[in-house]
């Protein structure tokens, strides 16, 4: 490998790693001396600075990491704020609802109900602070259990999980006279209105 390519491959590795990387690890992968790697990292560092890149290569504790240059932190923050404020996806809403209505659940429980892998929405909700890990189940594999957070209660203006709107299935047990699929639309509106006092209504249709 030419030295130019070594430089580029170091750049690629440091980029993909995200976290700070030890030069010795890079040396191991490339099968070259650590001194050589450190020299290359120096070149890389200089080249980012010379061309006034928006990025820089920093050294922390002998490890190296790519990050944005502090001059642009306002812009970076601005962009990330916009991204952060994208509303919850339908998938995230459903996962959140399953966690909330069941208080504590494992991911596989959520996936069983939804019929699809839910690792994406689950970690998204954890990042947003709406659900959190509540421990592990004493089962093979010791699966993590998730529950909702105080932030969740605030975002949905709830005092506690007891305040969640009643589920229609409980309603069906109490009173199944209203479960017909053929309820007329205005009937449905009525039911929706009444739902606060009379949670028996059929509200499953959109």
């Amino acid at each position: 490998m030419k030295s130019n390519n070594v430089l580029a491959s170091i750049e690629a590795m440091v980029f993909a790693a995200g976290d700070p990387v030890e030069p010795s690890k890079l040396a191991e992968v490339l099968n070259i001396d650590v001194e050589n790697v450190i020299k290359m990292l120096g070149h890389l560092q200089a080249s980012y600075d010379e061309r006034n890149s928006g990025l820089r290569l920093i050294r922390i504790d002998g490890k190296y990491q790519l990050c944005t240059r502090e001059e642009y932190s306002d812009e970076v923050r601005g962009l990330l704020e916009i991204k952060k404020n994208t509303p919850l996806s339908q998938a995230a809403f459903e996962v959140l609802a399953i966690v909330a209505y069941n208080k504590t659940v494992t991911r596989s429980f959520i996936e069983q109900i939804r019929g699809v892998d839910c690792s994406g929405p689950v970690s998204n909700l954890v990042q947003k602070g709406l659900i959190e890990e509540k421990g592990r189940l004493d089962l093979p594999g010791r699966p993590l259990v998730y529950g909702t957070t105080d932030r969740f209660l605030r975002c949905f203006s709830l005092n506690s999980l007891e305040d969640l709107p009643d589920l229609p299935e409980e309603a069906e047990q109490k009173d199944d006279s209203q479960t017909s699929l053929f309820d007329s639309d205005d009937k449905k509106d009525e039911i929706l209105k009444e739902n606060t006092e009379n949670p028996d209504g059929e509200v499953t249709e959109e």
Binding site: A16, A97, K128, L167, E169, T204
Partner: protein
């Protein structure tokens, strides 16, 4: 017939197997000779069973479907057969195209060698800050869980019965029917079905009768409501 020695895992399912048979025997996908295809297919499924493969339900379902198409195409008026055949042809073409596209995609995977990284940390607190109504959660829950009765996928065990069910070959039924008629006496058509234990038993028996009639080894007469069947055989003729 040549020894069939496929490996089951080569096929993605019955459609895949059918496409394989069509190309192997150079059949015209736009005008499938259904009887030939049924025979090939059923032979293959039987091979799978003989080799102790855990034959998936889909393969048997397709066998039943093919046999049904074959049955209706043996009827004097076979418009239904034409429609069913067109339907199958359409599905096969769709699946063939799907395989072609899959093949093309599988040749342009260099992008899997590009790596990205997660968003840079430390700039933004990602905590959620929007406000919602509880109703939105209720609706989401109903969407996810259906009406609280959404059927979870049935456990694998529940398929065992179906998968393990013996697939009745038409060939064996031909023998059974012939044995019953061997005496040369007229036999009530319906009586041929008396010891049928399963639907596929009955279908196979019926097909066997049609096959035998077609090859003029038996004759069918009597009223439509209660036909009878008799062997047409040289031995009997000589005895006369």
């Amino acid at each position: 017939m040549e020894q069939i020695n496929y490996k089951i895992d080569v096929f993605e399912g019955p459609m895949d197997l059918l496409l394989h048979l069509i190309s192997k025997h150079k059949l015209d996908i736009n005008d499938i000779p259904i009887i030939e295809l049924v025979n090939q297919y059923v032979d293959y499924v039987r091979q799978m069973q003989e080799q102790d493969f855990d034959v998936a339900g889909e393969f048997l379902e397709m066998a039943a479907r093919l046999i049904y198409i074959k049955t209706v195409s043996l009827l004097p008026k076979h418009e239904e057969a034409e429609i069913l055949k067109k339907e199958l042809t359409g599905e096969l073409i769709e699946y063939r195209d799907c395989k072609l596209m899959a093949e093309k995609l599988s040749h342009q995977t260099e992008g899997f060698d590009r790596f990205v990284r997660p968003a840079q940390e430390g700039y933004v607190n990602y905590s959620y800050e929007r406000f919602h109504e509880g109703e939105e959660l209720l609706n989401a829950y109903i969407s996810a869980a259906g009406r609280g009765k959404r059927k979870l996928p049935p456990p694998i065990d529940s398929f065992k019965v179906i998968v393990a069910k013996k697939f009745v070959a038409v060939a064996t039924k031909v023998n059974t029917v012939m044995r019953k008629l061997w005496s040369g006496k007229k036999v009530k058509f319906l009586s041929l079905f008396e010891d049928a234990q399963t639907k596929s038993d009955m279908v196979a028996t019926f097909l066997a009768v049609l096959e035998l009639a077609k090859t003029k080894r038996i004759s069918i007469d009597g009223s439509i409501e209660n036909p009878s069947v008799q062997i047409v055989n040289e031995v009997k003729d000589i005895e006369k």
